[in-house]
Subunit: 161 residues, 4 copies
């Protein structure tokens, strides 16, 4: 098993900073989780940016696509804010020969109650078992970014037309 | 033992709301902590407001002082945001016959790593053991609000002149 | 998605009981995790027994096999103690038309640091993506119970001959 | 503030070891808690033993008394298993010039839900505010070891005759 993980920020990595009385994006939590859990296998975590996904620009998205395309791994996980995860998934559509899984969290990994560890475990299995393609892995579902959207009111990802 | 607890908001009660991608003040965490811990004794929790302490106005402060003054308990804990905790402590200075302890947290109680539970335990002992007066209980120290300030850069309360 | 979950006990469900100063097996944690995370989809949790897997007898194993065989779901997760998870996996080998995933944890779900949430997320994806058969899902790996063993000294599952 | 902390084991420090499928006493959690919380002030943590308090012998108790007597600090916290905390408290009765607080936990500090952090905070205030003497600090109460007992069925400390 050889899994490459790119991190881009998002809620999953948000920390609370008292000095500013607000959340900011901290270091990638996916690395802590994978270490705490003691996963078997070879993996690499490469931080690309630390952004709320609403702030990810076309240039950022191009950088993400290039990073994935250049990776030697055929299994790639991208941690990403949920608001534009689907957009980045669509931008990755052209890449062949890789299984690419986008994952994030509705609640920061630093909270007592967070979906982060479950979601990372979910993505970890998805990237190993799915055939090549790009997938959004959220709420325990595997979605096609061409037909997925985040329903902000329901705090859920769902199938769109 | 008869302890009255007034809650006013502050970091200790902050939750993360994904829909807005920011922290907001939720329900009082002090009640959850006291229940989880299983403290002996009779206590009552009364929420007064849910405010970041930078937003607490003179009117709010008057309301807090009135609530404490009207309480039948002679041991009072106030959970409060840290930024103006000292100011509220000074406003409470005139009240006689009560031990009044102000406490808060640098990190929300909902985080995996938070000073909230330690601080509530600390205040819980302080209010039982200190003589009448007003105290700020933070960082494991008992401070006189007349001679205390929050050092924002050091994330600490310290003695001022 | 229609997932049936059978619980049998094991470390994942262990709680600490002060009165006895030891761990005992409590109620199924998988239900709490799936609710906390807010997974989409229809699932059912059915507790079969609360046993340390070293205490699971042939009769117990027959009961587990019967429960899986009788289930209307074609996706089945079994939470199970790690010591004899492989044995139960082998006992399930004859069942056709279902994807069956055995999962557990090295550290109880009630601990601050536990692999339980990651592992449940991992199993949740595995059961949706794998073809029919029986699988052990531990340490971020999907293993064939015919060729898997728990290495107690390394706290890991590994491929055996 | 100069606080000396002696650790003796007990539930507060219990960890879960999968290899043995049971809890054993690990390294002192009080140090981790005090660091996580960021307490102000000078303190020292000295581990004396790692024992379930039912296994603490007269010789162990003599060692604890000697350690406290020899300490240069006039504020001493002892973390201790709850079952014989009262007995150790009585053994310490002869020591003059020091405030000595015994504290422990009903649930290990490593659990998601534990009274450990609250209790340590509680003891941290008690040792600073109480006059010289020996105290048991549990369940948010300060008890005299001459008139305290653990009620195992109620999971509580209470006043005895």
């Amino acid at each position: 098993m050889n899994i490459e993980i790119f991190t881009t920020g998002g809620t999953i990595d948000k920390l609370y900073f008292d000095a500013l009385s607000e959340y900011q994006i901290g270091s990638p939590q996916v690395l802590r989780v994978l270490k705490d859990v003691g996963v078997a296998g070879v993996f690499r975590v490469t931080p690309l940016m630390r952004k709320d996904s609403l702030d990810i620009t076309d240039e950022d998205r191009t950088q993400i696509v290039e990073a994935v395309r250049s990776s030697h791994a055929d299994k790639v996980i991208i941690t990403h804010g949920t608001d534009t995860m689907v957009d980045t998934g669509r931008a990755l559509a052209g890449i062949k020969g890789k299984t690419i899984v986008l994952v994030g969290a509705m609640q920061p990994a630093g909270l007592r109650l967070s979906d982060a560890e479950f979601n990372i475990g979910f993505a970890w299995a998805a990237v190993q078992t799915l055939s090549e393609g790009v997938y959004v892995a959220m709420n325990g579902r595997i979605l096609d970014p061409q037909h997925a959207r985040k329903n902000r009111d329901a705090h859920r990802f769902e199938v769109s037309d």
